[in-house]
């Protein structure tokens, strides 16, 4: 079963084509990595999937339904969970309240029904000890964990991770990767944008390479990482 399908999706900001005729699909349970240089249109691609921006052309299909014109909150309720590149927790809410709100409204359930699930997510993401801390007071690692935890709380079929390993120490990164691998093992479909390639390739089964808004390569990580085009794009960057 296909969870997400983009067909000939394009988006232009002024004279800049940030997404250029992008077509790909993600089967259920797969973890897909997206790489590409800064400004390649990776985050825009996520915004098109979540519905924060609408495409100029093409279609977005989620779980067999055309959602090209559906608003963001509807897609959340259908099962798209997202973490942000720059963590954006609700700073005035505690860690637990952040999850509770995401779970209750993301799944359209009463808080009492989602409480246990939220506690389980806190445990999985190593945030249980910080449950009652205001999100605004968290360290960077904990903010990243909260991003992941809150996206999880919306009960996603499809989890979008945007540079969640960036800015973390090696040890912190390992912890987070282990958590993500755990989620993947539960059968959640994942699309992960990441510059920290060793973290990415240790989880994903497929890589998609984006450059100037175009898909220039897609396939198994080893094959993609060995290709000449990709090496050229990442020239100067140790792969």
């Amino acid at each position: 079963m296909t969870v997400l399908e983009l067909a000939n999706v394009s988006k232009t900001f002024g004279a800049l084509k940030v997404t250029d005729d992008v077509t790909f699909s993600v089967p259920k349970g797969q973890a897909l990595g997206i790489i590409g240089p800064n400004g390649a249109g990776k985050s825009t691609l996520f915004n098109l999937i979540t519905g924060n921006i609408l495409p100029d052309a093409g279609t977005v299909t989620l779980l067999g339904r055309d959602v090209t014109r559906s608003p963001a909150m509807e897609r959340v309720r259908m099962g798209v969970g997202r973490s942000f590149q720059i963590p954006q927790p609700f700073e005035g809410l505690t860690v637990f309240e952040n999850l509770l709100t995401a779970a209750a409204y993301g799944q359209r359930k009463r808080e009492a029904e989602v409480q246990d699930a939220c506690i389980a997510i806190l445990q999985d993401t190593g945030l249980l000890a910080k449950a009652n801390v205001l999100a605004g007071a968290l360290s960077l690692l904990d903010r990243k964990r909260l991003e992941l935890a809150r996206a999880m709380a919306t009960g996603p079929e499809l989890l979008l991770l945007d540079e969640i390993a960036g800015g973390l120490t090696e040890a912190e990164c390992r912890t987070l990767v282990a958590t993500i691998r755990g989620l993947h093992a539960q059968g959640i479909t994942i699309i992960w944008i990441e510059h920290v390639l060793h973290a990415l390739t240790s989880v994903v089964e497929r890589l998609l390479v984006l450059d100037f808004g175009r898909v220039i390569g897609m396939g198994e990580p080893e094959v993609i990482m060995a290709s000449k085009d990709v090496r050229e794009i990442y020239l100067g960057m140790e792969v």
Partner: protein, 281 residues
């Protein structure tokens, strides 16, 4: 003993100002919307109470006011909320002018009052201080209203939605929240507080279509003195203005309003962010 009396009367008057301010504080806290028509909405509610109390019971009236708040937000205010703070200011300013003139047309410029019989002059003695029953009720209502609002804010799913949307509407929408409906519910709730404020305004003093902006000013001062985002602070702010006004009036009746404004300026000088600021920005 007269000064103790002044202090008590002032604090009780502060309860009325806190009621004026609580709805304003709620709306500003959640959507950073400064509703310049807030005072006029209170006066309008007072007129509507005057009209309807005579004809029907209170239940449909309360429902109608919540609906009015919800509609106001959905049809008018949601259209102008955004990054720019100017459009909502202009719209609520326009609304204020329209409300005042509409009320002038409908109810004339005559001064009116909600008659409540013996309650108007009833009082309770506490040792050397005699306290009016109505001011005491006003203050108690303010405390209850703020207590309930706080409970909603910090212990319910709706309150968490209020705070999440206030924090970041875009991210909130990615968590399945609809900021526009949350805003509309908040304004509906604010209208309930507005109605309560109107009830006491109408019972305690005369009102006419032109007094809204001054009520707005007191409400503003109470919110600012208390510190943005703190409802209990708003009650304290109301009490400070109330005490200052009563003290001023004691010295010279002409100084009542002036004393309130001076107290406001003094607090701003010493604590520019108010006494109990909660909001970060």
């Amino acid at each position: 003993m007269i000064w103790l009396d002044v202090l008590v009367q002032g604090i009780l008057l502060g309860g009325l100002y806190a009621l004026f301010a609580a709805g304003l504080s709620l709306v500003f806290g959640i959507m950073r919307l400064v509703n310049l028509a807030h005072g006029d909405l209170i006066v309008l509610a007072a007129f509507v109470i005057l009209l309807i109390v005579a004809t029907t019971g209170l239940d449909p009236f309360l429902a109608a006011l919540i609906a009015a708040g919800w509609l106001l937000q959905r049809l008018v205010l949601n259209r102008v909320l955004g990054r720019d703070i100017l459009p909502p200011l202009l719209v609520t300013f326009g609304l204020s002018v329209a409300l005042q003139n509409g009320m002038l047309e409908a109810f004339s410029a005559d001064s009116r009052r909600l008659r409540v019989g013996a309650l108007e002059s009833a009082s309770i003695g506490f040792g050397p201080v005699t306290v009016g029953t109505l001011p005491l009720l006003t203050f108690a209502s303010a405390v209850v209203a703020i207590f309930v609002l706080n409970r909603i804010f910090y212990t319910t799913a709706l309150g968490r939605a209020f705070r999440a949307v206030s924090d970041d509407p875009t991210t909130a929408s990615l968590m399945g929240l609809n900021p526009r409906s949350v805003f509309a519910i908040a304004t509906g709730l604010a209208m309930v507080i507005v109605t309560l404020a109107a009830l006491y305004l109408g019972m305690r003093s005369n009102f006419d279509p032109s007094i809204g902006p001054a009520r707005l000013l007191y409400a503003f001062q109470a919110v600012i003195i208390g510190g943005l985002g703190s409802l209990w602070g708003t009650l304290a702010g109301g009490a400070i203005i109330g005490v200052a006004q009563t003290l001023g009036a004691q010295i010279n009746p002409e100084w009542q309003i002036l004393a309130g404004h001076i107290a406001f300026l003094v607090v701003l000088l010493i604590r520019p962010r108010g006494l109990f600021p909660r909001a970060v920005d």
